[in-house]
Protein backbone atom coordinates (compact mmCIF):
# COMPACT_ATOMS: atom_id res chain seq x y z
CA UNK A 1 0.00 0.00 0.00
CA UNK A 2 1.06 3.52 -0.76
CA UNK A 3 1.31 6.02 2.05
CA UNK A 4 -1.33 8.73 2.40
CA UNK A 5 0.86 11.49 0.96
CA UNK A 6 1.98 9.28 -1.93
CA UNK A 7 -1.63 8.39 -2.71
CA UNK A 8 -2.68 12.05 -2.79
CA UNK A 9 0.25 12.72 -5.10
CA UNK A 10 -0.81 9.86 -7.37
CA UNK A 11 -4.37 11.18 -7.70
CA UNK A 12 -3.13 14.67 -8.41
CA UNK A 13 -0.98 13.21 -11.17
CA UNK A 14 -3.96 11.31 -12.63
CA UNK A 15 -6.11 14.46 -12.64
CA UNK A 16 -3.49 16.59 -14.35
CA UNK A 17 -2.86 13.90 -16.96
CA UNK A 18 -6.62 13.73 -17.65
CA UNK A 19 -6.79 17.51 -18.01
CA UNK A 20 -3.77 17.56 -20.34
CA UNK A 21 -5.23 14.77 -22.51
CA UNK A 22 -8.59 16.55 -22.81
CA UNK A 23 -6.91 19.82 -23.81
CA UNK A 24 -4.56 18.12 -26.29
CA UNK A 25 -7.38 16.13 -27.85
CA UNK A 26 -9.52 19.24 -28.21
CA UNK A 27 -6.81 21.41 -29.78
CA UNK A 28 -5.70 18.64 -32.15
CA UNK A 29 -9.30 17.98 -33.22
CA UNK A 30 -10.03 21.62 -33.96
CA UNK A 31 -6.68 22.11 -35.72
CA UNK A 32 -7.12 19.02 -37.91
CA UNK A 33 -10.72 19.90 -38.73
CA UNK A 34 -9.85 23.49 -39.68
CA UNK A 35 -7.00 22.33 -41.93
CA UNK A 36 -9.13 19.62 -43.50
CA UNK A 37 -12.04 21.96 -44.24
CA UNK A 38 -9.59 24.50 -45.65
CA UNK A 39 -8.02 21.93 -47.98
CA UNK A 40 -11.39 20.58 -49.07
CA UNK A 41 -12.80 23.99 -49.85
CA UNK A 42 -10.12 24.37 -52.55
CA UNK A 43 -10.96 21.04 -54.17
CA UNK A 44 -13.49 20.65 -56.93
CA UNK A 45 -14.66 18.31 -59.63
CA UNK A 46 -15.15 19.80 -63.08
CA UNK A 47 -16.93 18.21 -66.01
CA UNK A 48 -16.51 19.76 -69.46
CA UNK A 49 -19.14 18.74 -71.97
CA UNK A 50 -19.03 19.29 -75.71
CA UNK A 51 -21.81 18.58 -78.21
CA UNK A 52 -20.58 17.27 -81.56
CA UNK A 53 -23.03 16.30 -84.25
CA UNK A 54 -25.19 13.82 -82.39
CA UNK A 55 -22.74 12.82 -79.69
CA UNK A 56 -21.87 14.20 -76.28
CA UNK A 57 -18.21 14.25 -75.32
CA UNK A 58 -17.41 14.77 -71.68
CA UNK A 59 -14.31 15.00 -69.58
CA UNK A 60 -14.34 14.75 -65.80
CA UNK A 61 -11.37 16.21 -63.93
CA UNK A 62 -10.90 16.20 -60.16
CA UNK A 63 -8.46 18.86 -59.03
CA UNK A 64 -7.23 20.98 -56.18
CA UNK A 65 -6.53 18.31 -53.57
CA UNK A 66 -3.08 19.54 -52.63
CA UNK A 67 -1.66 17.62 -49.70
CA UNK A 68 -4.48 15.09 -49.61
CA UNK A 69 -4.28 11.54 -50.90
CA UNK A 70 -7.30 10.98 -53.07
CA UNK A 71 -8.80 8.00 -54.78
CA UNK A 72 -11.68 8.95 -57.11
CA UNK A 73 -14.28 6.19 -57.10
CA UNK A 74 -16.93 7.06 -59.66
CA UNK A 75 -18.97 9.85 -61.27
CA UNK A 76 -22.53 10.38 -62.42
CA UNK A 77 -23.76 13.06 -64.79
CA UNK A 78 -27.45 13.70 -65.38
CA UNK A 79 -28.53 15.49 -68.54
CA UNK A 80 -31.92 17.10 -68.21
CA UNK A 81 -34.40 18.82 -70.43
CA UNK A 82 -34.33 22.48 -69.52
CA UNK A 83 -38.04 23.05 -70.00
CA UNK A 84 -39.64 19.96 -68.49
CA UNK A 85 -36.87 18.87 -66.13
CA UNK A 86 -36.99 15.19 -67.02
CA UNK A 87 -33.76 13.23 -67.33
CA UNK A 88 -32.70 12.70 -70.92
CA UNK A 89 -29.50 10.88 -70.29
CA UNK A 90 -27.51 9.46 -67.41
CA UNK A 91 -23.79 8.84 -67.75
CA UNK A 92 -21.95 7.06 -64.96
CA UNK A 93 -18.76 5.11 -64.73
CA UNK A 94 -16.00 4.11 -62.38
CA UNK A 95 -12.96 6.39 -62.18
CA UNK A 96 -10.59 3.53 -61.27
CA UNK A 97 -8.62 5.84 -59.00
CA UNK A 98 -7.69 8.17 -61.85
CA UNK A 99 -8.15 11.93 -61.56
CA UNK A 100 -9.46 12.19 -65.10
CA UNK A 101 -12.10 10.31 -67.03
CA UNK A 102 -13.68 10.75 -70.42
CA UNK A 103 -16.95 9.62 -71.88
CA UNK A 104 -18.70 9.65 -75.24
CA UNK A 105 -22.38 9.06 -75.62
CA UNK A 106 -25.20 9.67 -78.08
CA UNK A 107 -27.31 12.79 -77.76
CA UNK A 108 -31.05 12.65 -78.15
CA UNK A 109 -32.19 13.81 -81.52
CA UNK A 110 -34.52 16.77 -81.67
CA UNK A 111 -33.10 18.69 -78.73
CA UNK A 112 -31.19 21.90 -79.18
CA UNK A 113 -27.96 22.28 -77.27
CA UNK A 114 -29.45 25.14 -75.30
CA UNK A 115 -32.20 22.97 -73.89
CA UNK A 116 -29.76 20.55 -72.21
CA UNK A 117 -29.02 21.09 -68.60
CA UNK A 118 -26.45 18.93 -66.83
CA UNK A 119 -25.53 18.24 -63.24
CA UNK A 120 -23.75 15.44 -61.44
CA UNK A 121 -21.53 14.31 -58.68
CA UNK A 122 -18.45 12.24 -58.04
CA UNK A 123 -17.58 9.95 -55.14
CA UNK A 124 -14.04 10.43 -53.85
CA UNK A 125 -12.18 8.55 -51.16
CA UNK A 126 -9.89 10.96 -49.30
CA UNK A 127 -7.04 10.01 -47.02
CA UNK A 128 -5.23 12.44 -44.76
CA UNK A 129 -3.35 11.60 -41.57
CA UNK A 130 -5.58 9.05 -39.83
CA UNK A 131 -8.71 10.18 -41.67
CA UNK A 132 -10.23 8.03 -44.38
CA UNK A 133 -13.48 9.55 -45.54
CA UNK A 134 -15.74 8.87 -48.50
CA UNK A 135 -17.14 12.10 -49.78
CA UNK A 136 -19.27 13.10 -52.70
CA UNK A 137 -18.35 16.19 -54.60
CA UNK A 138 -20.86 18.02 -56.79
CA UNK A 139 -19.64 18.23 -60.40
CA UNK A 140 -19.37 21.66 -61.89
CA UNK A 141 -20.62 21.00 -65.40
CA UNK A 142 -19.56 23.41 -68.13
CA UNK A 143 -21.27 23.01 -71.47
CA UNK A 144 -19.08 24.38 -74.22
Amino acid sequence: MLSRAKRAEFWKFVFWIALALVVLNYTTGVFVYRNYADKLSKAKAVCKVRFEDGTIRGRVVIEGFSGLKIHPVDYQVYFQDNRRGNVLKLVSNSMFGQKEAEFVTDAWAGYEQGSWHAQGYSNVLIEWLWLKINLYLPLEVEIE
Binding site: F15, A18, V22, T28, G29, V30, L40, S41, I133, L135
Partner: protein
Protein backbone atom coordinates in the same frame (compact mmCIF):
# COMPACT_ATOMS: atom_id res chain seq x y z
CA UNK B 1 -13.08 31.17 -3.98
CA UNK B 2 -9.95 30.59 -6.03
CA UNK B 3 -10.61 26.87 -5.91
CA UNK B 4 -14.16 27.37 -7.17
CA UNK B 5 -12.92 29.57 -10.04
CA UNK B 6 -10.30 26.97 -10.93
CA UNK B 7 -12.82 24.14 -11.04
CA UNK B 8 -15.32 26.24 -12.98
CA UNK B 9 -12.56 26.74 -15.58
CA UNK B 10 -11.67 23.03 -15.59
CA UNK B 11 -15.29 21.94 -15.96
CA UNK B 12 -16.04 24.50 -18.70
CA UNK B 13 -13.07 23.08 -20.56
CA UNK B 14 -14.24 19.54 -19.92
CA UNK B 15 -17.82 20.16 -21.12
CA UNK B 16 -16.73 22.20 -24.11
CA UNK B 17 -14.13 19.63 -25.14
CA UNK B 18 -16.77 16.91 -24.86
CA UNK B 19 -19.32 18.74 -27.02
CA UNK B 20 -16.66 19.31 -29.66
CA UNK B 21 -15.55 15.70 -29.36
CA UNK B 22 -19.11 14.66 -30.26
CA UNK B 23 -18.88 16.81 -33.38
CA UNK B 24 -15.24 16.28 -34.35
CA UNK B 25 -15.24 12.58 -33.55
CA UNK B 26 -13.06 11.35 -36.42
CA UNK B 27 -10.78 14.40 -36.51
CA UNK B 28 -9.43 14.12 -32.99
CA UNK B 29 -7.01 11.36 -31.94
CA UNK B 30 -8.98 10.03 -28.94
CA UNK B 31 -12.36 8.29 -29.27
CA UNK B 32 -15.50 9.80 -27.67
CA UNK B 33 -15.70 7.20 -24.90
CA UNK B 34 -12.16 7.97 -23.73
CA UNK B 35 -12.84 11.71 -23.62
CA UNK B 36 -16.03 10.95 -21.70
CA UNK B 37 -14.07 8.94 -19.13
CA UNK B 38 -11.42 11.66 -18.84
CA UNK B 39 -14.15 14.24 -18.23
CA UNK B 40 -15.63 12.01 -15.53
CA UNK B 41 -12.18 11.87 -13.90
CA UNK B 42 -12.15 15.68 -13.93
CA UNK B 43 -15.63 15.74 -12.36
CA UNK B 44 -14.35 13.34 -9.70
CA UNK B 45 -11.55 15.81 -9.02
CA UNK B 46 -14.06 18.66 -8.58
CA UNK B 47 -16.04 16.54 -6.10
CA UNK B 48 -12.92 15.52 -4.18
CA UNK B 49 -11.30 18.92 -3.74
CA UNK B 50 -14.27 21.10 -2.73
CA UNK B 51 -15.48 20.90 0.86
CA UNK B 52 -19.23 20.65 0.31
CA UNK B 53 -21.07 18.87 -2.43
CA UNK B 54 -23.37 21.89 -2.84
CA UNK B 55 -20.33 23.84 -4.06
CA UNK B 56 -19.48 21.08 -6.53
CA UNK B 57 -23.04 21.07 -7.83
CA UNK B 58 -22.92 24.84 -8.25
CA UNK B 59 -19.58 24.60 -10.09
CA UNK B 60 -20.88 21.88 -12.42
CA UNK B 61 -24.15 23.66 -13.21
CA UNK B 62 -22.57 27.07 -13.81
CA UNK B 63 -19.82 25.63 -16.01
CA UNK B 64 -22.33 23.47 -17.91
CA UNK B 65 -24.39 26.53 -18.82
CA UNK B 66 -21.33 28.64 -19.73
CA UNK B 67 -19.82 25.79 -21.76
CA UNK B 68 -23.14 25.30 -23.58
CA UNK B 69 -23.28 28.94 -24.66
CA UNK B 70 -19.56 28.93 -25.51
CA UNK B 71 -19.89 25.80 -27.64
CA UNK B 72 -22.92 27.22 -29.43
CA UNK B 73 -21.03 30.40 -30.32
CA UNK B 74 -17.82 28.57 -31.29
CA UNK B 75 -19.63 26.04 -33.50
CA UNK B 76 -20.88 28.96 -35.58
CA UNK B 77 -17.36 30.36 -35.77
CA UNK B 78 -15.33 27.19 -36.43
CA UNK B 79 -17.73 25.31 -38.67
CA UNK B 80 -18.56 27.86 -41.31
CA UNK B 81 -17.38 25.51 -44.02
CA UNK B 82 -20.10 22.94 -43.77
CA UNK B 83 -18.90 19.60 -45.00
CA UNK B 84 -21.59 17.13 -45.90
CA UNK B 85 -20.65 14.33 -43.52
CA UNK B 86 -20.26 16.66 -40.55
CA UNK B 87 -23.84 17.80 -41.09
CA UNK B 88 -24.92 14.19 -41.22
CA UNK B 89 -23.30 13.35 -37.89
CA UNK B 90 -24.60 16.52 -36.28
CA UNK B 91 -28.04 15.16 -35.49
CA UNK B 92 -29.37 17.38 -32.76
CA UNK B 93 -31.22 14.53 -31.11
CA UNK B 94 -28.14 12.40 -30.56
CA UNK B 95 -26.19 15.38 -29.25
CA UNK B 96 -28.86 16.43 -26.75
CA UNK B 97 -29.41 12.90 -25.42
CA UNK B 98 -25.65 12.39 -25.05
CA UNK B 99 -25.36 15.71 -23.23
CA UNK B 100 -28.11 14.81 -20.77
CA UNK B 101 -26.51 11.44 -19.99
CA UNK B 102 -23.11 13.10 -19.82
CA UNK B 103 -24.24 15.78 -17.38
CA UNK B 104 -25.99 13.38 -15.01
CA UNK B 105 -23.10 10.90 -15.06
CA UNK B 106 -20.69 13.79 -14.45
CA UNK B 107 -22.63 14.84 -11.34
CA UNK B 108 -22.69 11.24 -10.17
CA UNK B 109 -18.91 10.96 -10.64
CA UNK B 110 -18.39 14.22 -8.74
CA UNK B 111 -20.62 12.95 -5.93
CA UNK B 112 -18.63 9.72 -5.72
CA UNK B 113 -15.42 11.77 -5.63
CA UNK B 114 -16.94 13.72 -2.72
CA UNK B 115 -18.05 10.55 -0.93
CA UNK B 116 -14.72 8.78 -1.13
CA UNK B 117 -12.43 11.69 -0.39
CA UNK B 118 -9.94 11.15 2.42
CA UNK B 119 -11.19 12.70 5.70
CA UNK B 120 -9.25 14.19 8.55
Amino acid sequence: MRKIAFFVAVMILSYHAFVFELLLDQFSPLPVSVVWLLSLVLSWWAGRELEHFSKTLLVLTVSFIIAGVLSYVLIGYYMKETIQFVVQTLTMKAVSVSLLVFFTSSIMAAFLGFMFKPRQ
